[in-house]
Amino acid sequence: MIFRKLFVAALATLSLAALSPAADAPSKKIDVDLSRMSGTVVYGMVYQMVTYPKRFVGKHIRMKGIFSTYYDNEIQQRFFGCVISDALACCSQGLAFELAKPRKFPDEYPKEGATITITGDFDLASEEDEEPYPIIRNAKMTNE
């Protein structure tokens, strides 16, 4: 059973590698560019993404925000996020992201609190027995 799962996973990885665009291919069209919007609208937009994530699945997103990271001791996994604040700076919301090309933490990541721009595909990640949460996959990160 476990061998079959491993085989399917390997096959899926190979298929994705074969289908993935070449490094110099033209970049995908951005469906939602949060980096061009004002702070007030960005906050409203991210609220929509977090509240109604299914509407945004598959969209290519670009967002600018604050780099944040969190280590979950229970599942021993580190999460990375891009956080934005509202106009009063009293509330903040963020989206988790997963880099297309994984980097070493902490050496290859910016410092927590640094301004970053993330471009990637909006998706829903799900853990066992938990509500799916929004995540930006295949992300590219640039920091200022």
Binding site: S38, V42, G44, A87, L88, C90
Partner: protein
């Protein structure tokens, strides 16, 4: 300029921006209509008191983990509005003292409850959002917009239908009673409408800034216009215009919605004050 218009039309494609404008216009229209009556009855500060009561009720609703906060906030705010506006002069604690007591009391109890029975990881954020509106106007759900439209229609209908009675109660309650107007009933109606408007307006500008929506348009209109009818129409126009301008600036410039609307109201007051002064000096 064309760039700004292009940017605005781009933002208007998002439903949540359209919801914010619809709710903003309706709330400012309703609050300005009743604002004239409240200012003339010397109850300018009641908006502040009731919004703090609504904040306290919101804290209780959060502690009780109610799915629909409105089920508690609206009845509690209406009950306090009735107590404050309908008991009149037959109370031991009168007018402004009662409003001040209720205002600070509800604010303190609300904050205390939020801290003791915290259900959120970001208490200061929740408090800040409720008090200053923050971006709650941009996070409205469709059902909240529908509720706001329905309540605004009720308020407008009541105001138009009972305009003459509200007018007579506003200027001389004793005379209105002598002419057969059921002043108790209409004071009760005004109290209920005021409470509904305050609860609606909390989403737009937050609990601390609600009074501005009630007071500024009425005072601006009173600088230039003299009759009750013309002041009411002018206050409604000023309020809607300032709200629209405030929301548009907040969206384009990324400023907080509530305080931008209030800033637009202050500028309008300054303009109308100057016009009034110029007219008086001309006369």
């Amino acid at each position: 300029m064309p760039e700004l218009i292009e940017k605005l039309s781009f933002y208007l494609e998002f439903p949540f921006v359209r919801y914010a404008i619809i709710v903003g216009v309706l709330v400012s229209l309703c609050s300005s209509l009743l604002g004239v009556t409240l200012v003339l009855k010397r109850y300018s500060y009641i908006g502040d008191g009731l919004s703090h009561v609504a904040f306290g009720a919101l804290a209780i609703a959060s502690v009780l983990k109610l799915t629909n906060n409105m089920l508690l906030i609206l009845p509690v705010t209406i009950a306090v509005a009735v107590l404050l506006l309908c008991t009149g002069k037959n109370t031991r604690i009168k007018g402004d003292a009662a409003v001040a007591m209720v205002s600070v009391g509800a604010l303190a109890i609300g904050y205390l409850l939020m801290n003791i029975f915290s259900t959120s990881a970001n208490i200061s954020g929740d408090v800040c959002t409720t008090l200053f509106g923050s971006t709650s106007i941009l996070t409205l759900k469709l059902e909240e917009v529908i509720l706001c439209i329905a309540l605004s229609c009720v308020v407008l209908f009541c105001f138009v239908l009972f305009y003459n009675k509200i007018f007579s109660i506003t200027f001389d309650e004793n005379f209105a009673r002598a002419t057969g107007v059921n002043t108790t009933l209409f004071n009760l109606l005004i109290a209920v409408i005021v409470a509904v408007i305050i609860v609606l307006a909390m989403n737009l500008v937050g609990a601390l800034l609600v009074s501005a929506l009630v007071v500024f348009p009425a005072l601006s209109a009173m600088r230039v216009f003299k009759s009750f009818f013309s002041v009411t129409i002018a206050a409604a126009t000023i309020s809607v215009f300032c709200s629209l301008i405030g929301i548009v600036i907040a969206i384009l410039a990324g400023t907080p919605v509530g305080s931008t609307i209030v800033a637009a109201d202050i500028v309008a007051f300054g303009m109308f004050y100057s016009i009034g002064m110029l007219r008086n000096s001309g006369n």
